[in-house]
Structure formats: structure tokens, C-alpha cells
Amino acid sequence: MIPNLGQLEESVLLLVMIVEEAYGVSVAQAYEEKTDNTISIPAIHTVLKRLEKKGMLRSWMGKATAERGGRRKRLFEATPYGYQVISQLRENRIKLWSLIPKFN
């Protein structure tokens, strides 16, 4: 049974896996670069929070930098459960894709 995961949630989960140091701004930046869509930072925060609550991400507070006015980053990383979910999703997709009748 795969938990219900929205499209944005899926993208963000993947991006956290891709991005080296995943936190709000870096994920948003990656999202914009990789998908050619823009996204607001509150949306990213909401999704990150939701994914963490579902147990697919975990977070810890990182270091403070000057450009953040002395605030620390919250760094994210996918949990094993997150990897499991994403790979199951992928498998499901492939299964479904293969079921599409071929026309030519």
C-alpha cells in the first residue's frame, strides 16, 4: 500500500534526494531550475513540513550563515521510508505505463 502523495510532494521529495544540502531555499531553487516552474517559499515549507510529518523526510538544524542574518538552516534528508515510497511509486508508474496499449 503506497501512501497518497501529491505531485508537488513527489517532486519535492525527489529534489531533497537530489540536492546536496537540502533546505527551503535550495529546494526552491532546484525546483525552479529543474522543472522550469516557479514556486513560492511558503509552498516549499508547507510541503517539507507535510513530508516530514508523513515520515518520508527528517530534518535537523544546520549552521548559521551571514546571508541568513544569523539564522540557522533546517536541513532535510529523505528517510529510508521515503526512498521506499519513491521507488514503489516509480515501479507503479512503470507498471501502468506498460499497460498502455500500443497503437503503432
Binding site: Y23, G24, V25, A28, S40, I41, P42, A43, H45, T46, K49, R50, M61, A64, T65, E67, R68, G69, R71, R72, K73, R74
Partner: protein
């Protein structure tokens, strides 16, 4: 960071954001801001604010509730149960609160009804904002005197000359006359009015057209009620003929809805002024000043500039001949409440009473609220443990406060229900006292006000205990280490002092009003008003008058009878057409004219100072004149009798001087006056009647009147009654304020009673020990009452100067007034002190007589 992000957005974020997310979100936002700032500072700023706003969503908003009760209904029930338990447990407190609050609320509601009714008078006209009355100021003896009437041509001239005036009308002579249709005679009140009358005032026509009904001089417009009485129908009245006795026949051209009660103009029919004008020459003269004039101005017209324009209107119209009269306009709906002018300045009127009573209502409510506050704080010491335990297990301050507020609001609500009951019971008598016809209709306004007052009372009454009790530190309470004596007692004593200060002010006010009214009624007016019957002279034929007087004299109950051209209750007619040697040519003082018959002065018992009165033994007395002292003083004559003055172009010899007498209300100073013998112009007949025989005498006079004037009803009044009517307002105020002061005292004393009971109870052990050690009951009573005595004494000290100045100001309304005596104020103080002692004494004696064994048992 070079430029910090918008401060407000930043602060807002910090305010709402959950702590565990704040750092991350803030950091991210700042980082974004920093990056975007390089591209475009403005956009970065905007974006920052927008992002903050978008974070305002449930996921990030912190919980503002520290403690969330899981069941509001349970808490409400808990509060209610506690409330009712406390009612049961402290029955006397509850009763005191209930009686105090409900009588306070009932007073406030009654006063509200009265004030509302007063404020609504004359406000119902659709053109209310544009309706004005034209007034005149005249200079007399260096002072400005106000007249509410103008020259008859004023209305027409104003409408013609001034573009701001859209309509103008004359209103003249509203008095009773007899109308008859087919042998049916009905007395009704009517007035002559200008064409525009119905277009200006909202006396709505149910039949006829407002622009047309008054165009024909022989038309009459009657009220629905009058139509019903005359014709038995309102629909078919138009076109019918009505005969007005002593006048003409008129044809009904319209019917208007009955004049509402809250109109200061009251009439049953109107006649066109044009018709009257045609037959009376004086109505074209600017020198005469009789009818009232009303104008309707264009919407948005500036009153000040209009007043400027009309100030010299009379002078311009008469080419400078009449220069001492200046005109100005007053809002029509203001006339009722703001009718007094003193030397050109608006100086109140009925509004004084409206304000007075509004204050009384506030005072009484305040006194009732203070009771509640005092009693609940006093009682609170017994509830300390409850509060301590509740707080210790986590009750918030708010929920504790809400418990006390809900208690006070429930008491207020129950009191409101009682008050409504009281008001509906008292309303008939209240109407009788105030001379109004108030009804307790539940309109939105009243309901809102009632609920408003109740909530206000409940919240104010409950505020102090709620805020005060809920603020304690539970640890301190539970350890029983609360040092509550100083602050608490100061507040409570302060409140009691305030309460008594208010009561004393009310009592002195009542006393002064009462004294003044009594003074006015008992002052010797300079003439004898008792047992004098007045009635209108019904025929203007001279011979007829003589015959009537001759016949009337033979009636055994009539001691004296004569006729007079004055009502003795107000300004009647005056003249400036008097010349005497040494007169300043610019002097425009008006002399009051009394037209008298033989025997008039004797009948009224007006005292003669010098010379003689009119007598039939001299045939030339119609060419003589009598002055009052004020006139002689004003003219500066030293030996007046025998000198000559010129009146209206004719020389008259002064034959006598009478002592000053009040021919107007005591609000007015005695003005210069002269009396001339002119039986033909005496429009009233005065008869002095033997006391104890009023009934028979009036009956016989009525029969005589029927014989002489079969067409007229015999309407009479007693001079002293008429005189008293002049002071109806004051008298009503006197009676009303007596009741209200009584209620204020009652409520104050209820509070004191409760407080005394409480103190006695709390000091029960102390009393027990004192008694056990040999204190006498008297010394204990002294001990307990001394506190209250001090409070009342402080209240007296505060209240006396305040009430002295208030009384002084009120008395300035009267030209003749009582002088304030020191004992009025001391008397009020002593009275309050006595009542307070009586109240407290009852409780303390009970406490002092208790057996010390009982209260010391458990030690």
C-alpha cells in the same frame, strides 16, 4: 545586510509563527531577500512581505491558547451552577443586589423613555433639516429681549427677497374657537397659516393637495378627528361647509392626519392667513409684531450667512424707521428644547431638564453598580480558597474572570426582567407626573438600549471582582498570606464614599428644586390670585359687557366682577409709543399695556402706592393713566401723580402709581407697565368668588353666560391654576426628582446594609474576644459604626461644594429665587448620616449582642 527587510512584515511573522519553524522560515526568507535584493530592491521588499503573508496559514500559526478547555458547555454549566449556588448561599447579598439593580434599571429605563420622547419632539417633519423659526431680538433698557413673533408681512417678504428661502409661512393665533355644522357646536383649536404650511410641515393630508388647500381664503383644513366629530366621516368631508362662530363660513378643502403628540404645534384645524389678512389692516404693518414666522431654507443653506442677511431685515423694510429689532433664525426642531435666550445668548430651556435627568439615571445606575462591586469583593475573601485551588489546578485568569462576569451579568439580566415589570407597572403614574403619554413599546431602539444598559451594568458591576480576584497568586492565597487589607479596603471605602457623594448631591438637588418651586408658588405676586375666576369675554359689544357685568354682580357667590385685557400669566401686549419729558429719543423700551375696567385693580387687590385708581365718579378717566413703580423708576419721575405723558400721540394725566406686581412668570423681572381704562378692549372677565361656593357660583355664571351668549360654550379657568401651569415643568421636575433621590438613597443604603452585615460577620471573632474581655455592647457598636461614619463624613465634605455650585447655577434661571441656606446642605448631610447610622446600627447591634461563646467555640 545592507538594507533590512520591511519591519512590519518581519514583526508580523514573529508574532504569528510557531517557534519551532520561526528560525528556519525567517532564515530562508532572509536568504531569498538577500539574493533578490541584488536584482531589484523593491521587488525583494514586496516579495518578502508577500511571502510572510503567505506563511500565515494554519500549519505555521502558533497556538495562542495556553490552555484549551475541552468542553465549553461543561464550563458554562459549571459557572451557572456556581452562580446559582452562590445566589442561594448568600441570599441577602443576592436580594440586595437584585433590589438595587432592578430599581436602578427601572429608573434608568423610565428616564430613557422620557428623554427619548423629549428629544423626538418636532423631529418628525420630513423637512426637519431645513425648517427654521424666525425670531427677533429687541433692545430694551440696554438688554436684548427675545420675541418669538415677527411682523405679519415677514414671511412673504423673506420668501420674495431671499433666494435661500424655498417656502415661508405665517402661523397666527392658535386658540380655541367654536365650529358648528347643523346646530352642532364643537370647540376646537385652530390657527391661521400661510399658503406653504402643508408643503413645509409634515402634517400629512389624507384629502386634498398640499399646494392647493389653502389658496382660497374661505377654505378650512381640518384634522381627521375633527372631521369625524363634525361629519362622522373623513372621506366625504371635503366640500362641506363649517361655520366659525364670530366669524364666517368656511369650506373644507382638505383633511390632515391628526397632529402627532410629539409636535409642539397642536391644532385641530387651519385657516388661510390670507383671509384674515384681508380683514385686518394691521397685518400689513411692520411695526406690529404678532404672528410667528417659519421658513424652509434650501438644502445646504448656510445658517450663519442667512442670519447675517436677515439681521437688518426690518430696518431695511421700514427704511430705517424701525432699527432696534434684529432678526435671526433658529432650527424649528430646536425651539422646543432650546427655547431660552438671555441677552442674545442661547441659554438652555427644556434641555436643562433632559440633561439633569440623564445625569440622574447615570448616577442611580452607578450607585447600584457600586453596591454590586462592593458586596462581591467583600464576599470574595470567603471565596479565596476556591480561587486558589482553581488556579493551582490550572484555571486561567480569563476563565475565573468570566465566572464572575457571568454571575454579575445573570444578576443584571434577572434585574432587567424585574425592571421591565416594574416599568410597566409604574408607567401610568409616571405619565401622570410627567404629563406625557409614554408607552412601553418594544421597538428596536428600546430593546438595544435595555440590553446595552444591562450588559454595561453587568460588566461594570462584575469588572472589579473579576479583575481583582482573578489576579491573585494562588500560592499566596493558599498559604493564607494574602495581605489584602489595605488596597481592598481603600477601594471599597472609596466606592462607598462615591456612592454617598452621589446620593447627597441628588438629595440637595431635590431639596433646592423643591424649595424654589414652593417659593414660586407662595410668593406674594403683588396681587391676589386666589379665588379669581377668569373667562373669555364672548361679545365685543360694549353695552353687552356692561349688562353682563351688572347681572353677574347680583349672583350671591360673586364678590367682585370686572374685565381686564391681560392674562396675568405672561407678556400680553406692549408698546413703545410712550413719550415723557426727559425721554432719551433712541429709547425703545417696551411698556406692558394693561387695559382695565372700573374695579379691576380692586378685584385683583393690586396695592396703590400713590394717587387713585379709576373710578366711575370721574367721567374722564379713559384719558388717564396709571403706572407701576418699575415704570416710574425707569422714567425717572419724582412726583408722578398729576404729571402728563404722551401715549400714542395723546396726552394723558398720571393719576396713580401701583406697587409692582408680577404679571409674568417669576423667571422674568418686573417690567415697566401702565394701566389704562379701556373697557372695550378687555378680552377677559375676572370674577372674585367667595370661597366654598365655587360650585354654585360657577353654575350660575354659566347660566348667565348661556342667556347672554347662547351660541358660546362657557370656558373658565382659575387664575391660581393658570399661574401654577407656568411652573408645570419645574413642578414636575420637583416631584420626579423627589422620587429619584429617594431611590438613590434606598440603593445606597442597601449597599451599606450589606457591607455592614459583612463587616460584622467578618469581625465576629474580634467582637467575641472583646466581649469576653469585658467590652460593652455600646462600645462595640461604636467601634463598628465609626468606619462608616467616617466614610459618610468624607462623602458629605465632597458633595457639599459640588451641590452648592450646581444649585447656584440652576437658580440663575430664575429672576426671583430663593437664597441658598447653609442648612439645606448640612441638612442633607445629616439626613444621610442618620440614615446610614440607622442602616448600619441594625446590623451592628445584632452583632454586638451575640453570645461570644458561639463565635469563639471553635477556637
Amino acid at each position: 545586510m545592507e538594507v533590512p527587510p520591511p519591519k512590519y512584515a518581519h514583526r508580523f511573522l514573529r508574532w504569528f509563527c510557531r517557534d519551532d519553524y520561526l528560525e528556519e522560515i525567517e532564515g530562508n526568507l532572509l536568504e531569498m531577500y538577500e539574493r533578490q535584493y541584488e536584482d531589484s530592491p523593491e521587488k525583494a521588499q514586496r516579495q518578502y512581505g508577500w511571502n510572510v503573508l503567505r506563511h500565515f496559514r494554519p500549519a505555521f500559526i502558533r497556538s495562542f491558547k495556553v490552555y484549551q478547555p475541552n468542553n465549553y458547555r461543561a464550563m458554562l454549566r459549571h459557572n451557572l451552577i456556581l452562580t446559582f449556588r452562590s445566589f442561594q448561599r448568600y441570599k441577602s447579598t443576592f436580594l440586595i443586589n437584585l433590589i438595587g439593580l432592578s430599581s436602578g434599571l427601572a429608573c434608568a429605563l423610565l428616564i430613557f423613555l422620557w428623554v427619548q420622547d423629549e428629544l423626538r419632539v418636532d423631529k418628525f417633519h420630513a423637512n426637519n433639516d431645513q425648517l427654521y423659526q424666525i425670531l427677533e431680538q429687541r433692545e430694551q433698557a440696554g438688554k436684548l429681549v427675545l420675541f418669538r413673533t415677527t411682523a405679519a408681512p415677514t414671511a412673504e417678504a423673506l420668501a420674495a427677497d431671499l433666494p435661500e428661502v424655498t417656502h415661508a409661512t405665517t402661523v397666527y393665533n392658535s386658540s380655541s374657537s367654536v365650529l358648528s355644522v347643523d346646530e352642532k357646536d364643537i370647540t376646537a383649536k385652530g390657527q391661521f397659516v400661510g399658503n406653504d404650511f402643508f408643503r413645509m410641515f409634515s402634517f400629512d393630508l389624507v384629502q386634498g393637495d398640499a399646494a392647493q388647500v389653502l389658496t382660497d381664503p374661505s377654505s378650512i383644513v381640518i384634522s381627521k378627528e375633527l372631521a369625524q366629530r363634525l361629519f362622522g366621516t373623513t372621506e366625504e368631508a371635503v366640500g362641506k361647509t363649517i361655520e366659525r362662530k364670530s366669524d364666517h363660513s368656511y369650506q373644507v378643502s382638505g383633511v390632515f392626519r391628526n397632529v402627532p403628540r410629539n409636535s409642539s404645534m397642536q391644532f385641530d384645524f387651519v385657516l388661510p392667513f390670507a383671509g384674515y389678512q384681508r380683514e385686518h389692516e394691521w397685518t400689513s404693518e411692520w411695526s406690529r409684531t404678532s404672528p410667528a414666522t417659519y421658513v424652509q431654507l434650501k438644502p445646504g443653506a448656510d445658517l450663519a450667512s442667512f442670519n447675517n442677511k436677515i439681521a437688518n431685515f426690518v430696518r431695511d423694510k421700514t427704511e430705517g424707521q424701525i432699527f432696534h429689532r434684529t432678526m435671526f433664525a433658529q432650527r424649528y426642531s430646536d425651539v422646543y428644547l432650546y427655547s431660552n435666550y438671555e441677552n442674545g445668548e442661547q441659554s438652555g430651556g427644556r434641555i436643562t431638564y433632559v440633561r439633569l435627568f440623564s445625569w440622574v439615571a447615570v448616577f442611580i445606575l452607578l450607585i447600584a453598580c457600586i453596591n454590586f462591586m462592593n458586596l462581591s469583593t467583600a464576599r470574595a475573601s470567603r471565596q479565596m480558597k476556591e480561587i486558589g485551588v482553581k488556579k493551582a489546578v490550572g484555571a486561567r485568569r480569563g476563565s475565573l474572570a468570566s465566572r464572575y462576569l457571568s454571575e454579575s451579568v445573570s444578576v443584571a439580566t434577572i434585574s432587567l426582567l424585574l425592571a421591565v415589570l416594574l416599568v410597566s407597572l409604574l408607567l401610568p403614574s409616571f405619565n401622570e407626573i410627567t404629563g406625557k403619554q409614554l408607552t412601553f413599546a418594544f421597538d428596536v431602539n428600546l430593546i438595544l438600549i435595555a440590553i446595552g444598559i444591562t450588559l454595561f451594568t453587568g460588566l461594570v458591576a462584575g469588572s472589579y471582582p473579576a479583575l481583582y480576584l482573578s489576579g491573585f497568586d494562588p500560592a499566596v492565597i493558599l498559604k493564607n498570606k494574602l495581605n489584602r487589607s489595605v488596597g481592598e479596603q481603600w477601594t471599597r471605602q472609596g466606592l462607598v464614599v462615591l456612592q454617598f457623594t452621589l446620593s447627597i448631591i441628588l438629595i440637595t438637588a431635590v431639596w433646592v428644586v423643591y424649595q424654589q418651586v414652593a417659593f414660586v408658588q407662595n410668593t406674594h405676586l403683588g396681587y391676589d390670585k386666589d379665588n379669581v375666576l377668569y373667562f373669555e369675554r364672548l361679545s365685543w359689544e360694549e353695552g353687552n359687557l356692561k349688562a353682563f357685568l351688572g347681572e353677574a354682580e347680583k349672583i350671591p357667590g360673586v364678590t367682585q366682577i370686572s374685565s381686564i385685557g391681560h392674562d396675568m400669566t405672561g407678556h400680553n401686549s406692549g408698546t413703545t409709543g410712550l413719550q415723557w419729558t426727559g425721554r432719551n429719543p433712541s429709547d425703545r423700551t417696551e411698556f406692558e399695556v394693561v387695559r382695565a375696567n372700573y374695579g379691576t385693580l380692586e378685584l385683583l387687590d393690586i396695592k396703590l402706592k400713590e394717587g387713585r385708581t379709576f373710578s366711575e365718579s370721574f367721567s374722564t378717566d379713559t384719558a388717564k393713566i396709571i403706572f407701576n413703580e418699575a415704570a416710574i423708576d425707569y422714567m425717572g419721575l419724582t412726583d408722578p401723580v398729576g404729571e402728563e405723558v404722551e401715549l400714542w400721540g395723546e396726552n394723558r394725566e398720571i393719576i396713580g402709581v401701583v406697587q409692582d406686581f408680577h404679571f409674568e412668570s417669576l423667571h422674568e423681572n418686573i417690567k415697566p407697565l401702565f394701566i389704562i381704562l379701556n373697557p372695550n378692549s378687555t378680552w377677559n372677565i375676572a370674577a372674585k368668588i367667595e370661597a366654598g361656593q365655587e360650585q354654585e357660583t360657577i353654575e350660575q355664571l354659566s347660566q348667565l353666560s348661556k342667556k347672554f351668549y347662547p351660541d358660546y360654550p362657557f370656558d373658565y379657568w382659575f387664575l391660581d391654576q393658570e399661574y401654577q401651569a407656568l411652573y408645570a415643568a419645574e413642578q414636575r421636575v420637583a416631584v420626579l426628582s423627589k422620587y429619584f433621590a429617594g431611590i438613590a438613597i434606598l440603593i445606597s443604603c442597601l449597599g451599606l446594609f450589606g457591607l455592614a452585615a459583612f463587616t460584622a460577620e467578618r469581625r465576629l471573632k474580634e467582637i467575641g474576644i472583646r466581649k469576653a474581655l469585658g467590652a460593652s455592647a455600646t462600645s462595640i457598636v461604636q467601634l463598628l459604626t465609626s468606619d462608616f461614619t467616617k466614610m459618610v463624613l468624607v462623602a458629605i465634605t465632597i458633595a457639599l461644594p459640588i451641590s452648592y455650585f450646581a444649585a447656584q447655577r440652576w437658580l440663575q434661571n430664575f429672576a426671583f429665587s430663593i437664597s441658598l441656606q447653609w442648612w439645606y446642605f448640612v441638612g442633607a448631610g445629616v439626613l444621610v448620616l442618620l440614615i446610614a447610622w440607622l442602616t448600619v446600627g441594625f446590623q451592628t447591634v445584632k452583632a454586638a449582642q451575640a453570645n461570644p461563646v458561639e463565635c469563639l467555640q471553635d477556637e
